[in-house]
């Protein structure tokens, strides 16, 4: 009935040349049309607000815009060149790598440990699962504030250690400016210098200890999520396989090592991708907890981008940082997408 009405209306315009779309349109089923109509608004919104603004940021990143007054004169790749020679950005890259590696590793290990324990068929499993998953319901800002207080050098756990008489455990946490690095005077440092890799023994090239406090907070929040992923993965492993291994005399550890872990590889990969893109973009946790930290020990590109853009007014540089961040995330995500698409095609 609907299509009949549409055909009747076109009668008035019959003298106009007929567009081939009409035929095409009519051949599409009504269901399809509704589906397309429902998709179009969100597609347009995503096209404008995601891809449009990515494009705009890319445009700004190659412009001369460095005051509050927009200036779209073409600057080429100068902003990027200056960015990579900027000491703060170099430290940010170091921190980003350190944070990502530590955070992803800690979450995977703790998450898997929790999942393996919960999977033992203990009573009240739901309670434990909820307890471990609850931190994820909290925003990073709240996590940051809570851990900021917990790890404050004159309060929190230090106070606890103080009261318990365990002064030796008191620690500066996120205010510790130490960067663990290869001392340039050591034999290794001299050897590195000799082969032209002296920068590897630079005082800033290493592990900023303050970052560990931030990793603790982030892990507290996200390891429950990894646990759930692993738990789902563990439940999907057929019990018969494990039984068969046990019948063959495998110890419980060997079952995990040779049955569970290999079968959980896709889960691990998914978890790594999800955690990895969270950690590359981390901002709120750092802002609430330690900000740039002593000597940029906990500074990250997102924070630099925010400060240089909205405090310093260097919009082009801020856009360049965003583009670098986008590229680093896509380096992680795009191979994963290709891999999973191929896998789907195979199945």
């Amino acid at each position: 009935m609907q299509t009949g009405g549409a055909a009747g209306k076109t009668g008035a315009f019959s003298r106009l040349p007929r567009l081939p779309f009409g035929k095409l349109f009519r051949s599409v089923s009504w269901d399809r049309r509704i589906a397309v109509a429902l998709i179009v608004p969100s597609t347009v919104a995503v096209a404008v607000f995601v891809y449009g603004f990515i494009g705009w940021s890319a445009l700004v990143s190659v412009s001369e815009w460095d005051t509050v007054r927009p200036d779209y004169d073409f600057a080429g790749l100068r902003n990027f060149r200056e960015l990579f020679s900027n000491f703060r950005f170099q430290l940010d890259i170091r921190n980003m790598v350190v944070f990502t590696v530590l955070f992803v590793l800690a979450c995977l290990v703790i998450g898997f440990g929790l999942a393996a324990l919960v999977d033992r068929g203990i009573g009240a499993e739901g309670v434990f699962r909820s307890i471990y998953l609850f931190p994820m319901a909290v925003s990073f800002i709240v996590t940051g504030v809570v851990w900021r207080w917990l790890l404050a050098p004159r309060a929190g756990v230090n106070l606890l250690f103080d009261r318990a008489g365990m002064d030796s455990l008191k620690y500066a946490w996120y205010t510790d400016p130490t960067v663990l690095h290869v001392p340039s005077e050591s034999r290794l440092g001299e050897a590195l210098d000799f082969v032209g890799l002296g920068f590897l023994a630079d005082a800033h090239f290493g592990l900023p200890l303050a970052m560990i406090s931030v990793v603790i907070a982030a892990t507290w929040q996200m390891s429950g999520f990894v646990m759930v992923l692993y738990l789902a993965g563990l439940r999907a492993i057929p019990e018969e396989m494990k039984e068969a291994a046990r019948v063959d005399g495998a110890s419980e550890f060997q079952v995990i090592r040779h049955i569970s872990l290999p079968l959980l590889r896709p889960v691990t990969l998914s978890a790594m991708i999800i955690l990895g893109h969270v950690s590359l973009k981390i901002f709120d946790l750092i802002v609430a907890m330690s900000r740039r930290g002593p000597g940029f020990a906990t500074d990250v590109p997102a924070l630099f981008m925010f400060e240089t853009t909205f405090q310093g007014g260097y919009f082009a540089r801020g856009a360049a940082i965003s583009i670098v961040m986008l590229l680093s995330v896509s380096l992680l995500v795009i191979p994963y997408l290709i891999w999973s698409l191929r896998r789907e095609a195979r199945v």
Partner: protein
């Protein structure tokens, strides 16, 4: 039929005319909303701002609803970010708090976001009541662009009197004095200098007082105009002093805010702190009386000034109400109501001195006779972009303490700010 039509037409016209008359009558008084944007959220600051709001209806006729739009955070770090977004997004507040000097001029005036206020200054005869030095700083191409409400002093050394007298010490006047006193305190297990630089401006603040004390007023001013070479040996000496001072601060400084550092002085865990004179209001709010003040080493006779000002953004909603707000903020009554609570002195020269507490009275005396120099950390001396570059260099220096690379970065920042070659 026609009659009926014209009847309707006439009645509509009459109603419209009446409405217009009614509107016209209302225009005599001010109406609508006035949004005042600031980072004054705590204690005396908020109380002082409220006094100004209370004064508004007595000066400005009509019924204006004032919206107190505040964003918390010392030295306006957070507020500035919100402000930038709003100004660029075409949603300017009616009037906003901004530091006098390059922070206002380089960010908003030269880029054409502000209305000049020359007619307001003439109407109110403000050219006679504000000091010439202040008028110069708030003007661009001969026209004033903001109304200064107060004057703060950045270079003040605050100390716990009891700690000093218990150890038979005098507040240090020179750097040698300072290091001697600091060594004596350190030997007693007292932190000589409290610092809280979770927000980096606190360390930049400390550095600017050291630069001033080491270079003197003229050379210090030259740093911001390109007349003093950032690579010179004098600057190296100043940075060495800064480095040495940092060796006397509390180890957890990067986890504290400036007022938490103040608490260390109050508790007697630390002996001194170098902070602007808003610290005075903090001591009063915390009911601490046993404190003294002095210029930090080498800065006697110098007044490192900053000022909070309000201006009129282009395309601000309800500009007439904003102009009247500026009138209140610049008035004698307004400044006398605001400043004793805020803990600052009047930008006007005709305020009643007896309204102020002993510290501020001494500041008023110093303001009249000292050499006035602009503060760096608080936007008077350099553009926002330059300050953020310096802040970044300071952040790294506070931990790595490498004077030569620090000096190089500072020199580079001056070049990037297009002041040095």
């Amino acid at each position: 039929m026609l009659k009926r039509k014209s009847f309707w037409l006439i009645s509509v016209l009459v109603i419209v005319a009446l409405a217009l008359v009614a509107c016209g009558e209302e225009e005599k008084g001010l109406g609508g909303k006035l949004e005042v944007f600031s980072w004054w959220t705590t204690g005396g600051e908020a109380a002082g701002l409220q006094k100004l709001f209370d004064l508004y209806p007595t000066v400005c006729p009509g019924d204006v609803e004032i919206i107190n739009a505040t964003v918390a955070g010392g030295a306006g770090f957070q507020a500035r970010q919100v402000l930038t977004t709003r100004m660029l997004g075409g949603d300017p507040p009616g009037s906003f708090q901004v530091h006098m000097g390059h922070e206002l001029t380089d960010t908003w005036v030269t880029t054409g976001y502000m209305e000049p206020l020359d007619s307001l200054f003439e109407e109110e005869n403000w050219k006679d009541v504000f000091p010439k030095g202040v008028l110069d700083i708030i003007s661009y191409q001969g026209k004033p662009y903001s109304v200064p409400v107060n004057i703060h002093r950045a270079n003040v050394l605050w100390y716990n009197k009891q700690v000093f007298s218990a150890n038979n010490l005098q507040p240090p006047a020179t750097f040698d004095d300072f290091f001697r006193v600091a060594d004596a305190l350190k030997a007693k297990g007292i932190t000589p200098l409290a610092l809280g630089d979770v927000e980096v401006w606190s360390s930049t603040h400390l550095m600017e007082t050291v630069l001033l004390g080491s270079l003197g007023a003229e050379k210090y001013k030259g740093l911001w105009t390109g007349d003093t070479d950032w690579k010179s040996a004098d600057v190296t000496k100043a940075l060495e002093n800064f480095k040495k001072m940092l060796s006397y601060v509390n180890s957890d400084h990067s986890g504290l805010t400036w007022d938490q550092a103040n608490d260390l002085v109050i508790q007697g865990k630390a002996a001194m702190t170098i902070m602007g004179d808003w610290a005075n209001a903090d001591y009063q709010a915390k009911k601490f009386t046993d404190y003294g003040w002095a210029p930090p080493p080498g800065t006697k006779g110098m007044y490192q000034a900053l000022s909070d000002t309000f201006g009129l953004p282009k395309n601000a909603p309800n500009p007439e109400a904003v102009k009247c707000w500026l009138k209140v903020a610049g008035s004698k009554a307004g400044q006398e109501a605001f400043n004793p609570l805020k803990g600052s002195i009047c930008a006007r020269t005709d305020c009643d001195k007896s309204l102020f507490n002993p510290y501020l009275q001494s500041a008023i005396d110093d303001w009249a006779k000292d050499a006035i120099v602009p503060s760096l950390a608080h936007g008077a001396a350099a553009s926002q972009g330059w300050v953020t570059e310096i802040n970044d260099a300071v952040t790294l220096f506070v931990t790595d303490q490498n004077v030569s690379s620090f000096q190089q970065r500072l020199a580079q920042a001056c070049v990037e700010a297009k002041v040095c070659r």
